[in-house]
Amino acid sequence: MNDCVMIDSDLEDLIPGFIEKRHGDIRAILAAAAAKDYEAIRNIGHNLKGIGGGYGFDRVTKLGAAIEQAGKQREGDKACELAQVMETYFKNVEIHYE
């Protein structure tokens, strides 16, 4: 079953750009994990945690918190796994504007 989110219609024009930037974050997490740059992973996770729910993507906030934690604990594999989960999430999420 696909995830479904309800987003404020005032933000509709911002969502495509928002999702595109998250794909960029996913790539950056994978690259940082390969380079063992855990500080970068932590920062990206922290940002995702802060912005996801604001745009209506509560799942992004939760995944961001977990990625931040993985960065703190220097768990590169865990961060990659979470990045993949986010990738899948954005592929399948159904967005409705209200």
């Binding site: 005032d10 933000l11 911002l14 940002n47 912005i51 604001g54 745009y55 509560d58 906030t61």
Partner: protein, 330 residues
């Protein structure tokens, strides 16, 4: 009115700006770090630059200068100490919030941003800021009015001590200064002298030339006598009608006599025509002088009475002269 958002996350800046604009909070400015915020505010200038900022929304965690330190720096500037700052933080633990409030933040909002919470908190802070601004404006107005009042009072006080015609001290002011100087002389043991004079045959002058010319004559006499008194502590006053009096603190009677002679000759040299004078064809004055040490047992008006008596002697002795009163008890 404007709100400044300081956040390193572009997504956060865009989102908060969108929410604020949606709810009609007016102009919204955004910068991505504390340094840019300082530049926009003009923090390095004594009077600041951006005085239209009503509220700052500051991300707590930023690269470089963090939001809490930035808050502290902004609050330490005289122009921005009253600008409310709300810290936006994903870390709402007690330690972070404690630091934020200690730095001068008025409130905090947790990330992710919730639209209704943002609106309510911003509304509340702006209402408070508006009330503070109104209070400050009223206080500034009050200070201005008080300053004006003080200025008017000073001017009224000055005017109430002057004689309206001659511009020298009036009788009321003379009485105050005389008593003050008398007490000072008792306290310090210094001499105090009084020079009392009036214009000879002034009634005839008025009868001959009219009251307008009489007034002009009084002004000239006052100016001439005033030019003789050069020490700051000396005071020349119009005692009443054509009578004048000078207080000479810390002056022995011999010195006062010289001053009196100077007054007399200076006035005479003015050569103010007085065809009705029974002495000469110009204005002259008769002068009585009294002075010496003051003591607690002296009557308050003693010196004045003596100077007045000496003036009477000068008059009865032929006018246009100075007489010195003798003080038996000193």
């Amino acid at each position: 009115m404007a709100i400044l958002i300081v956040d390193d996350s572009a997504d956060s800046r865009v989102l908060i700006k969108r929410f604020l604009e949606k709810h009609g909070f007016g102009k919204v400015l955004t910068v991505e770090n504390a340094t840019d915020a300082f530049a926009l505010l003009g923090l390095d200038q004594p009077e600041g630059l951006a005085k239209n900022i009503d509220l700052i929304l500051m991300d707590g965690v930023m690269p470089g200068i963090d939001g809490i330190t930035a808050c502290q720096l902004i609050k330490s500037h005289a122009w921005f100490k009253d600008i409310p700052i709300i810290i936006i933080t994903a870390n709402d633990n007690a330690e972070t919030l404690d630091k934020a409030f200690a730095a001068g933040a008025i409130d905090f909002i947790t990330k992710p941003i919730k639209q209704l919470e943002l609106k309510a908190r911003v509304n509340s802070v702006l209402n408070m800021k508006h009330a503070i601004d109104q209070r400050k404006a009223r206080e500034a107005e009050l200070v201005k009015v008080l300053e004006e009042l003080e200025s008017v009072n000073r001017e009224l006080s000055r005017l109430s001590s002057l004689d309206g015609l001659t511009g020298i001290a009036n009788r009321r002011h003379f009485d105050q200064i005389y008593e003050m100087e008398r007490q000072r002389a008792v306290r310090t043991g210094h001499d105090l002298s009084i020079v009392f004079f009036d214009i000879d045959f002034f009634k005839y002058y008025n009868d001959t030339y009219g009251h307008q010319e009489g007034d002009d004559c009084l002004k000239k006499v006052a100016a001439a006598a005033g030019s003789v008194l050069k020490r700051p502590g000396d005071l020349l006053a119009r005692y009443g009608g054509e009578e004048f009096v000078a207080i000479l603190p810390e002056t022995e009677v011999t010195g006062a006599y010289k001053v009196a002679q100077d007054i007399r000759t200076t006035i005479e040299k003015c050569n103010i025509p007085h065809s009705a004078s029974k002495l000469t064809d110009h204005i002259t004055v008769s002068i009585g002088v009294a002075g010496g040490k003051m003591s607690l047992t002296d009557k308050q008006q003693e010196l004045l009475t003596l100077a007045d008596k000496a003036l009477y002697e000068a008059k009865s002795g032929g006018r246009n002269q100075v007489r010195v009163a003798e003080r038996n008890s000193h």
